[in-house]
């Protein structure tokens, strides 16, 4: 046998499948996309009436900002989504935690929740309008109702996901039931509850826009609909951008809450 002549290295095959962060790439994607869009508009490839250029959308946004239209519509929308989400979340947490903790509440609540959860809540808006009138309460109620059901489900399944052995541990040290709930079940359910907030926030945003399109004078949804009817596509897209920013802000806010509440993770 020769010294090293017929020694061959083992071929490496363990590469890839390990996501590494790329700092610039995400921004680059945005820049390239918007630049391409702008270039296509400037070159006359996109009809401005159907697909306005990014510059036109920014222009429209600036005008809406300076003439107060944006504040008026955004204010109306926030005045619906915030109370709607808070009412739905409070009621949903109360019901969901009760179902997570008490067998009787679960047995009573689960069939109702399962039956009502799949109904698209916007279908109930006409009924809610009959009950509460065309004004604000019917829209707030639609959002609250849409938020309620996913919150119930996330709260009670979050309670279920608290490891049994932690509860047994609490019992074995003689903790009273109230302490087991306050010190073990609730903190243990927190990650699931906060994850549920993300879902309910997106449901709230969806229902907000839908309810405003059905019957509202002001609000981002109503504004987008009106702009479409008037063929003001630059304003329409400006409204969509505002909705996107609103969604991002909500998501960022919840992320901040999650990071501070779940620091132990």
């Amino acid at each position: 046998m020769s010294e090293h002549g017929d020694r061959r290295p083992i071929p490496f095959r363990g590469g890839g499948f390990a996501p590494v962060p790329r700092r610039l790439l995400p921004w680059l994607v945005f820049v390239v996309l918007i630049a391409t869009w702008q270039a296509a508009s400037s070159a006359g490839l996109l009809p401005p009436l159907f697909m306005p250029s990014p510059a036109a959308v920014v222009d429209a946004l600036y005008v809406l900002w300076t003439n107060g239209t944006l504040a008026q519509n955004l204010g109306a929308s926030l005045g619906r989504i915030i109370p709607g989400w808070i009412i739905g979340t409070a009621a949903g947490l109360a019901a969901g935690l009760a179902m997570g903790i008490f067998s009787a509440a679960r047995a009573a609540g689960l069939p109702i929740v399962s039956a009502l959860f799949p109904i698209p809540k916007i279908a109930l808006l006409p009924l809610l309008i009959l009950w509460f009138g065309i004004g604000e309460p019917s829209k707030v109620a639609t959002i609250a109702l849409g938020v309620f059901f996913p919150t119930v489900i996330s709260a009670y399944s979050a309670c279920d996901s608290v490891p049994r052995n932690l509860i047994r541990m609490g019992q074995s040290f003689g903790l009273p039931a109230t302490d087991i709930v306050a010190k073990i079940v609730l903190p243990g359910a927190m990650p699931g509850i906060l994850a549920g907030f993300r879902i309910s926030a997106s449901v709230a945003l969806l229902l907000l826009v839908a309810a405003e399109m059905i019957g509202a004078q002001y609000g981002i949804g109503a504004f987008v609909l009106t702009a479409g009817n008037l063929m003001q596509t630059d304003q329409l897209l400006a409204g969509v951008v505002v909705l996107s920013i609103l969604g991002l802000l909500i998501s960022w806010g919840l992320g901040t809450v999650e990071r501070s509440v779940l620091r132990w993770r």
Partner: protein, 257 residues
């Protein structure tokens, strides 16, 4: 605290887990329960600490638990059962928060339990930052802080690697030399049984019955000496010969879950 297990049987539905367990445990004794998987040893431990109700029979005490013990029957768990959102010190304090103690006494007790288990400098750390061995030390500190009369150890070292297990066994022996409690220790590790037990109770497979009780005469503290190595090897061999066949059967069984 002397404990008496009186004809305790337990069944889960149609599965008989324990059948007529009869055992007296003396004050300050360390009893190791050993047996193949599915012999009901963890069930028996659950019954001893009042976490499970036996289908028949009962567990009695022949004297009142000492007044200074805040939680006479205290567990140390295999999976540590720590609250991940609480720091080490707060995990230990959990055992005291609902007891009538002054805040200063609570802090003092927690600090001394942490010192005893070598966790002094980890008081503010969170469980996920600790190794398995350190996590179990938190479990031990949490158990000691209530001054238990009976320590119930449910495979406390089974989740640890062999070297950490060795270190924690030394720690447990050092702690036990200083505090007086009765201990019931469940394990499937024969070496732990031979090292830690005053008596080893061998359970048979489903339904769990007491198959044999083996006393080890050498005091626990002296078992590390070379002259006793042969004796420990004998104990180990005897235990294995009692368990081997049933362990093999248990190993080949399809799990019904």
């Amino acid at each position: 605290m002397p404990l008496h297990i009186e004809r305790v049987s337990h069944r889960y539905g149609s599965v008989e887990a324990l059948d007529g367990i009869e055992l007296d445990i003396a004050d300050g004794e360390t009893v190791v329960l050993i047996g193949p998987s599915g012999c009901g040893k963890s069930t028996l431990l659950g019954i001893l600490g009042g976490l499970l109700q036996p289908t028949s029979g009962r567990v009695t005490l022949s004297c009142a638990p000492p007044a200074e013990s805040l939680n006479p029957f205290t567990y140390i768990f295999q999976d540590f059962a720590l609250l991940p959102w609480r720091s080490v010190a707060d995990n230990v304090a959990l055992a005291l928060e609902h007891r009538a103690l002054s805040a200063s006494e609570r802090t003092e007790r927690v600090a001394s339990a942490l010192a005893l288990t070598g966790l002094g400098e980890f008081a503010t750390a969170y469980p996920k930052q600790l190794s398995g061995g350190m996590r179990q030390r938190v479990g031990i500190a949490r158990a000691l802080v209530v001054r238990p009369a009976v320590l119930l150890l449910d495979e406390p070292l089974s989740a640890l690697d062999a070297q950490t297990r060795e270190l924690l066994m030394e720690d447990l022996l050092a702690i036990w030399a200083r505090e007086k409690s009765t201990r019931v220790y469940v394990t499937h590790n024969l070496e732990e049984a031979a090292r830690l037990a005053d008596r080893v109770v061998v359970l048979s497979r489903r339904p769990g019955r007491i198959r044999d009780v083996i006393g080890i005469d050498v005091p626990v503290a002296e078992r590390g000496r070379p002259e006793h190595a042969g004796l420990l090897r004998d104990v180990h061999r005897r235990l294995w010969s009692l368990i081997r066949d049933e362990a093999a059967t248990a190993d080949r069984e399809i799990q019904h879950v």
